[in-house]
């Protein structure tokens, strides 16, 4: 059946969206939430496990203080109230990647409540209210093998890796965000971006969406103006910032087409597809899951010491938004220029490049120019392009020192990206340095004069502007490595 989807603009003419976001962040603590197993991305399956995170009979959890501290710091950075008394709860459901068939989470007594995060969207601030920030343990990972698709259907075996089981996971839940209209997808993306930056600035997680250390579920609903909020769907498997925006947009369009046809939105979990950009229903549950929450009897309640919380609050770093304002001033950028830096995801890269010694202009030129172009071409993020801020700073220094010109610098950069070494090493190895040694150039200049007697005559007559043709000829024979100014000086000296 082919469904005709309405254009986005039409959706907004008839409906108002309400969005909400649930974000899970894997904390980068040294050890897991309730045991001493180390946390590292990757690794052989089932090597970072012990009786506790495997949920063996008789094992007991002990809460990780560093994880509680990180959660409180996230809560404080999001302007939350830190609960004076909070508890862990058991969320009971059967699933093979959950070792105990219950997850230690928090229910009605979370660690942090009632905060907000201001995000900048098209020059103005949108306040996203935070309902709660709580701490829980991650589950293992199930892998279906033997089938063609890697999905459960058709698989001959399901393998479970418990390395991830028990990694501390912070869940950040927003209140519903109404009233953003056409900007809803952009607000969603801006919120996740800002949240990511805030958490990264706290140093508590590497917040890498592509590695799953930041995961996002997007709730979307539509209603006609003046009517009650509609039924929401929850979209999972949203694995990049771009996907956050796309998921909200496509889900708004899909819901509008259902409502337009007189249908009803089912409250369900949907899965976003990176390939097609649309959402598909998840496995439908005939009955609502009853998680039978109750207070975790194996753990004492959490009552964070007020002085401790106050000291954590006092030690919070500058928030990314404030930090960005300061950088913009330092770098002398207009709002528009700063926006393009932000859009390119280049703030930190430029900041680090400047810290490594480059001028703000030089750093910005590379990251927003050549490197952005290459990232775009390959469809990757700027951070993944293969050059580090230190390398870019070194490259710019070589240009500033006159050892490379722009064209040569781009060739060196190619070598950097190819992993051939530092800019200086590549310049030497590939013989790409600017030739300004007059001895080596004189022969080339003489050759050019001899080959172009007409031009030489003009220059002798004082028409110095004609020197350009000879410079071009010299550059050609030196494969662009000559320093243009030196060549010009040589030509004029020879012909006067």
């Amino acid at each position: 059946m082919t469904v005709t989807l309405p254009p986005y603009e039409d959706v907004l003419a008839r409906y108002e969206p309400v969005i909400g976001l649930e974000t899970h962040v894997e904390l980068g603590t040294r050890t897991k939430m309730f045991c001493g197993c180390p946390i590292d991305f990757g690794g052989q399956p089932n090597t970072r496990i012990c009786p506790v995170c495997l949920g063996l009979p008789g094992s007991l959890p002990v809460a990780n203080r560093a994880a509680i501290e990180a959660t409180i710091r996230i809560g404080l950075a999001l302007n939350c109230t830190i609960a004076p008394w909070s508890r862990f709860a058991r969320k009971n459901y059967f699933y093979p990647d959950m070792p105990k068939n219950y997850q230690i989470s928090q229910y009605d007594e979370p660690l942090c409540v009632d905060g907000w995060l201001d995000v900048e969207v098209e020059g103005s601030l949108v306040r996203v209210e935070i309902e709660r920030v709580h701490l829980e343990e991650d589950t293992g990972k199930t892998q279906h093998v033997g089938g063609a698709t890697g999905r459960i259907h058709g698989a001959t075996e399901s393998l479970v890796d418990y390395n991830r089981a028990g990694i501390p996971l912070v869940e950040i839940v927003t209140k519903p965000v109404p009233g953003t209209g056409a900007l809803a997808p952009i607000v969603a993306r801006a919120y996740v971006t800002e949240l990511r930056d805030v958490i990264r600035s706290l140093g508590v997680s590497d917040v890498r969406m592509e590695q799953g250390s930041l995961r996002c579920d997007v709730n979307t609903s539509l209603s006609r103006p003046g009517e009650e909020w509609g039924t929401r769907t929850e979209t999972k498997n949203v694995n990049s910032l771009r996907s956050v925006e796309r998921a909200v947009r496509t889900e708004m369009i899909r819901q509008a087409s259902v409502l337009d046809a007189g249908g009803k939105i089912k409250q369900e979990t949907r899965h976003f597809s990176e390939e097609t950009g649309d959402t598909r229903p998840g496995r439908s549950k005939e009955t609502a899951t009853d998680y039978r929450y109750f207070p975790e009897p194996d753990l004492a309640p959490l009552a964070p010491d007020l002085e401790w919380v106050a000291s954590l609050k006092a030690a919070l770093p500058e928030l990314p938004r404030v930090h960005r304002k300061r950088l913009q001033a330092d770098w002398g950028l207009s709002d528009l220029d700063m926006q393009s830096v932000l859009n390119a995801g280049a703030v930190e890269l430029i900041e680090e490049t400047v810290a490594a010694g480059a001028s703000p202009e030089g750093a910005r030129k590379w990251w927003l120019g050549e490197l952005a172009r290459r990232a775009n071409e390959s469809g990757i993020e700027l951070v993944e392009v293969g050059a580090t801020p230190a390398q870019v700073a070194e490259l710019q220094r070589l240009v500033d020192e006159g050892k490379l010109n722009d064209k040569l610098a781009r060739a060196v950069l190619e070598g950097v990206i190819a992993g051939e070494g530092s800019p200086t090493e590549i310049m030497t190895a590939r013989g790409l340095g600017v030739v300004s040694d007059t001895g080596a150039l004189t022969a080339a200049v003489d050759e050019a004069i001899a080959a172009n007697p007409d031009v030489a005559a003009k220059i002798r007559e004082g028409k110095v502007a004609a020197a350009g043709a000879l410079i071009g000829a010299v550059m050609k024979t030196t494969r662009g490595q000559a320093d243009a100014k030196t060549v010009r000086d040589l030509i004029i000296a020879r012909l006067s």
Binding site: L56, P57, V62, F94, R292
Partner: protein
């Protein structure tokens, strides 16, 4: 040397330390006794003869090397099969864990090994410690050495029967609603439940996390106190473990054995005086009370009005927690797996495994607990039961403002015949009528023999305030000094 199996732990430790008997000889004597009688008593689910011999040999070597030995070094001990023992089968009395060998030791097992105790093997219990007779063990019941047609109590009936049959001088139990004390009472032995959190739960296969408490079982109060002091102490791996120092329970037991209780006020719980208990049990209890009065104790009647709600509250809290704790037994990671034919869905395999692996009492409690925690019923059941628990705690706190300890019979009836209560769960639950309030409160309690009724042992329960475990040992030791220990006849 007299029969090593008839000696107390104190005597055995002294004999080993003094070189009158080696730890190996002591271990062999008990292994022989187990081989001789356990086919009739069935106290053990698994005898670890090799492990016991190795541990005994180590004690002997340490002694000959002149190393200092702890007060229980070389003394054999049986461990309830719900406590994880590294490399040694741990079934919790359930088919669902048949063949499981834990890769780690429970904290209390580590502590016993470090103290030089010699672990003989694992003792029988009602499946997952749910029951009062061992008749719910998936591996068949244990039998009471006083009368082999009767139950040895439960859930720790194996630990109690092993003591009464002289198969071990010490055993370890776990007490969630009376599983140490009630078996102690009906076998004429001593069983102590420490303050909740006083002994680590790390490595106890969880039944009801907020109630489970491991503790010592012995034939004398002093032996129990010695084992208590080995088991107890703060454990960073158990978040509910208490950091306070362990009370001097051994000193208190020795002081009590001098027979002087002057100035000690005993609280007689009005709500427990008579109703529901057999007349013979009440008579023996009153004899015990008289004996304590003669030693200088004062008896004060106190009222604990909410104790009457303890049983129903317990039968909501414990099943609720157990429904969650037992969810992990699904055939995915360890233990039994049924129906995995490569065709059936995972949910079906889980379901078939649990259907085949759990016995009737476990299923009953998992279902009750699942219901009590479910949305819409939580407040009426689990939530309400937690409120009752608070009221019971207040009853205890108020009572302990008037008296030093509370006393009652341990259990309303003497050892009943096998099969006489299995058809009616409520009749079985009544066995824990007097023991359950303490579990809900979290304080310590001990059962010590106070006499016989119809030729069968009766237990006397002493309940103390939380962290005052020493107090109950003092009173129990005094009673023991007055009425003596009970010795069953030859096994028949």
């Amino acid at each position: 040397m007299s029969d090593l199996t008839r000696m107390t732990a104190v005597q055995l430790a002294a004999a080993i330390a003094g070189g009158e008997a080696s730890a190996t000889e002591v271990a062999e004597a008990h292994l022989d006794r187990i081989a001789e009688v356990d086919d009739r008593v069935h106290a053990f689910l698994h005898v670890d003869a090799e492990g016991a011999r190795a541990a005994a040999r180590e004690v002997d070597e340490r002694r000959s090397a002149g190393e200092p030995l702890g007060p229980l070094a070389g003394v054999p001990v049986g461990v309830k099969d719900i406590v994880a023992t590294r490399g040694v089968p741990t079934t919790a009395g359930s088919k669902i864990l048949e063949g499981w060998r834990p890769p780690y030791d429970a904290t209390i097992v580590e502590r016993m090994r470090a103290a030089g105790l010699v672990i003989l093997g694992k003792t029988n219990l009602d499946e997952f410690a749910m029951g009062s007779s061992t008749e719910y063990s998936a591996y068949g019941p244990s039998y009471n050495p006083w009368d082999l047609t009767r139950i040895p109590g439960g859930s720790g009936g194996g630990s109690a029967a092993a003591l009464a049959a002289y198969e071990a001088p010490l055993t370890v139990g776990t007490d969630t609603g009376g599983s140490i004390r009630q078996p102690g009472a009906v076998t004429g032995t001593v069983g102590a439940k420490p303050t909740y959190g006083g002994t680590s739960r790390y490595g106890l296969v969880a039944f009801s996390s907020s109630l489970d408490t491991p503790g010592p079982c012995a034939r004398t109060v002093e032996d129990a106190a010695l084992l208590h002091s080995v088991l107890a102490g703060h454990d960073p791996r158990d978040s509910t473990s208490i950091p306070q120092p362990v009370p001097d329970v051994v000193g208190a037991a020795r002081r009590g054995a001098t027979g002087d209780l002057s100035g000690v006020r005993l609280g007689l719980v009005r709500e427990f005086s008579g109703e529901g208990a057999e007349p013979g049990v009440m008579a023996a209890f009153r004899d015990g009370l008289d004996a304590l009065t003669k030693l200088g104790a004062e008896v004060v009647e106190v009222s604990c009005p909410h104790f009457q709600y303890a049983l129903p509250a317990y039968y909501l809290i414990a099943p609720s927690e157990c429904s969650s704790n037992l969810a992990r037994f699904d055939g995915v990671r360890y233990g039994l797996r049924v129906g995995d034919d490569g065709v059936k869905a995972l949910e079906e395999v889980m379901s078939l495994t649990r259907e085949a692996g759990f016995g009737p009492e476990v299923k009953r409690r998992v279902i009750i607990g699942t219901y009590a925690l479910s949305s819409g019923y939580y407040d009426a059941y689990y939530g309400q039961a937690q409120k009752v628990r608070t009221l019971i705690t207040r009853d205890f706190t108020a009572a302990f403002e008037q008296v030093d300890v509370l006393v009652s019979p341990t259990t309303p009836f003497v050892a009943f015949p096998l099969g006489s209560r299995t058809s009616d769960p409520y009749q079985m639950y009544l066995a824990d009528l007097f023991t359950i309030p303490t579990n809900l409160y979290g304080g310590p309690a001990i059962s010590v023999p106070c006499g016989l009724s119809e030729g069968l042992p009766v237990g006397f329960q002493v309940m103390a305030p939380t962290l005052a475990d020493d107090r109950m040992y003092r009173v129990a030791a005094a009673l023991e000094s007055a009425v003596g220990t009970l010795t069953p006849g030859e096994l028949s």
